[in-house]
Symmetry: D2
Subunit: 283 residues, 4 copies
Amino acid sequence: MHVKKKRETKVLQTICPDSKGLIAKITHICYEHKLNIVQNSEFVDHLTGRFFMRTELEGIFDNVALLADLEKTLPIGMLQKLHTVRRQRIMVLVTKEAHCLGDLLIKTAYGDLDAEIVAVISNHNELGNLTERFDLPYHFISHEALNREQHEQQLITQIDHYHPDYIVLAKYMRVLTPTFVTHYPHRIINIHHSFLPAFIGARPYHQAYERGVKIIGATAHYVNHCLDEGPIIMQDVINVDHSYTAENMMLAGRDVEKNVLSRALSLVLAQRVFVYGNRTIIL
Amino acid sequence: MHVKKKRETKVLQTICPDSKGLIAKITHICYEHKLNIVQNSEFVDHLTGRFFMRTELEGIFDNVALLADLEKTLPIGMLQKLHTVRRQRIMVLVTKEAHCLGDLLIKTAYGDLDAEIVAVISNHNELGNLTERFDLPYHFISHEALNREQHEQQLITQIDHYHPDYIVLAKYMRVLTPTFVTHYPHRIINIHHSFLPAFIGARPYHQAYERGVKIIGATAHYVNHCLDEGPIIMQDVINVDHSYTAENMMLAGRDVEKNVLSRALSLVLAQRVFVYGNRTIIL
Amino acid sequence: MHVKKKRETKVLQTICPDSKGLIAKITHICYEHKLNIVQNSEFVDHLTGRFFMRTELEGIFDNVALLADLEKTLPIGMLQKLHTVRRQRIMVLVTKEAHCLGDLLIKTAYGDLDAEIVAVISNHNELGNLTERFDLPYHFISHEALNREQHEQQLITQIDHYHPDYIVLAKYMRVLTPTFVTHYPHRIINIHHSFLPAFIGARPYHQAYERGVKIIGATAHYVNHCLDEGPIIMQDVINVDHSYTAENMMLAGRDVEKNVLSRALSLVLAQRVFVYGNRTIIL
Amino acid sequence: MHVKKKRETKVLQTICPDSKGLIAKITHICYEHKLNIVQNSEFVDHLTGRFFMRTELEGIFDNVALLADLEKTLPIGMLQKLHTVRRQRIMVLVTKEAHCLGDLLIKTAYGDLDAEIVAVISNHNELGNLTERFDLPYHFISHEALNREQHEQQLITQIDHYHPDYIVLAKYMRVLTPTFVTHYPHRIINIHHSFLPAFIGARPYHQAYERGVKIIGATAHYVNHCLDEGPIIMQDVINVDHSYTAENMMLAGRDVEKNVLSRALSLVLAQRVFVYGNRTIIL
């Protein structure tokens, strides 16, 4: 019996050592597979001799054969991933602040961000009401009376229950251990309320106030083992002046934080972000 | 007798109707010519079904054979240009304001803009002194006692004497006729002191003041037959407030104007700007 | 019987012809009334010889005596308003797009915008669900089968029922007649989805796409009798490039629109915006 | 014999503990002295209870009597300075990069910055040619074969010969000792090529590249005893992406550096910048 295959859109991500003819070879294999290139972007990092390519393909896919053809033709050391373009599932972690969560709720509800929030988890109960207004599950997992490992184990259990594609820290104000981070490699995205690497750590707006800066900002980044030091995806800033207290900065910064987070997420969800060392290549 | 050919860097610009396998075909031909792709960028305009590609190539070129191979393989209607990467010659036209000219003089003198200013032409004599400080020829061609055609004919004669690649209107405050513009197709770049299409025409800062806007800007664009309506290359803005008079805006706007002009020029000189209808594609 | 008066915070707005000693006279009267100046800002428009001052005062107010003392001492032609600082009531008008309304709902619910949304009115029913998630009344007043005057009369009746301080057009996509506008002088705030005066009227993102601009923006302004020509309060922009269709611009522009609208509202609600002719002075 | 006094414009800067009636008292004394207030701005730092006011006055001044009247009336601990508005003298220190110096030369020559460059000093001779094109003295004071103190002593001798109002470090790439800094209190302005406090110290663009940031910037600040930690006057940023090497960032950053430096200088020269602790208040 025959199953008629459907046309699909997929993203092929390639990272490998640079060499002559790579674009020709990869695109030729796609052509032989009768796949149409909707959009192609590549970047060669001449400092490290590394080649990056994002190929958005449309057609009827034979994944196994395609990847085998690529592997056969291309140099050793090539990394390739073929992502099916579909609505991604995201798990949102929060503490008490509503602005990032609120923005994600509105955007996913009205199609401005192509993702599904599967649930919200918090170590506080303040945002349960907001989450439930959007008919989504809210899990209050208090960190009180638990050590860090115990708390994270409860988080992991709850998160894994939903099989999310990404974990979004939408002002989740607790530091995560390497154990937790390792469990979700390149799948945790955080919004930090400063233009990193300025003002790492706690209370960045208070640090900014103390230093007397004239711009404040926000940074969306992948979470790795070092606090606030993962690969940066997106940053933006706004001007402030002497009349801003740390509280005024915090309030003004909220729009920047939520915008940077949701724009970074859009890029990640569209498979446009390549992580290479501690840097991102966005194609 | 044999002339040993040298390795060179060239930019291949391709514009054509989109069709399957274009990237594969073009890059394959480059590969067969043993040319290394330093950087490749492409864009498909799905609304008009048009394909744009900029390929920066390095190697030993046989221009005629390369272009013939491309023409043979590729669909009818393809436009291809092969630019040798070299220092371009620019002719600067000014009226009385020093900031854009001054910036171009410093940048070309110190290598921050990879171009050679071959001469400066003005309908006034105010900027002769500045130009000569940089040991460059300054031609004062007054428009007084001449009709527009006569004046432009004198400009053309003087310009053509230098064989420039581009004509840069660095606050040249006279409208050019279609005759003049047609003489230099896609080779005249203007800086307009507003974020177009707002405030077309004369005294845009005064118009901005009258309208009470909170941002002002500048636009670098190719000059076509319609005043201030050519394809836009680059725009930028700054914030203003109620305390700015039109004169304050003019002063504050100067840094934006000169930055936008020189950044636009960098893109043009690197053969990164494709003109398509009234739009630019920057690859 | 005696009523003990409470300490309050009020904002005194002064607009008058400039003359010597104005600041001294006004602040001296405040001092005599034992009022503390929390914040004072002034601006002299030297082009029109006009003086503007915003004085935030704290203490026990005798409004009648204070205004009488000011009137007695100061030149003829002075306009003064004394606003009690309190949570303002806003009525939100929308059509179908959720982003501005959603942002206002979240911000007012969580204290990031110091205002109370009294109700939402729309000529469509799409956003009823969102409004009701926040337990606020939603009035669907269709414009179908009504002429413009009839429809606006129904709006006015519904609006006036709530006695709002301000009417916020949060992507309300119908043109309002002078009759409606006159009914709420300097009390209607609109968000327009372009950096005015570029792209007045319908479908500004499509106009922007056609023109090939490299920046798009949004403008919050008071509504007056001329479409999109009222006094501008706040503007902001973002960069776009050739890869943006009109739809991509629309999506990217939403964050700008909602940020500009809520920042403009903050200024208006804090009595920091003075309207003078077709301009705003923000103190 | 009588000397007829001329009308002048002066700036009165006041810093003192906040107390009731300060604005009224100060402006009343100005009024009694028949001085017209061209522009007045004040700021109360409610966290530290400190009052700042900048009063631009126009009229016939009796400096001694005015300051005595202010001192008599106002609380103890008040600091007041009365600056005559005149073209300030600046001494520019550079190393090898031309962009900031070039911008200052053009701007002072054409009136876009209201200052006189009295001379340029460098520890290298690369920029002598540029300086002399503008008919200004260039002093090449090599640091070779000298210890830091000896070199700075030669700088001080040369600088003091010109009696400048401000010392501008326009990409002067040597660290200054506290001895030098103390010699010119609040009179040395530096441009640092990062958005401080990120990337303090050497090679900030290389640090930025390593960290993979998506924005780079520049900071103009007063120089104090701690490297790159003086009060910030102005900051600005631009976006970068993965395609920027450290060298590309350096090139792109130059326009930001020069703009930030000259805008900061404008504010300082207009006596609009108050230093308070490690912060600036800009009125």
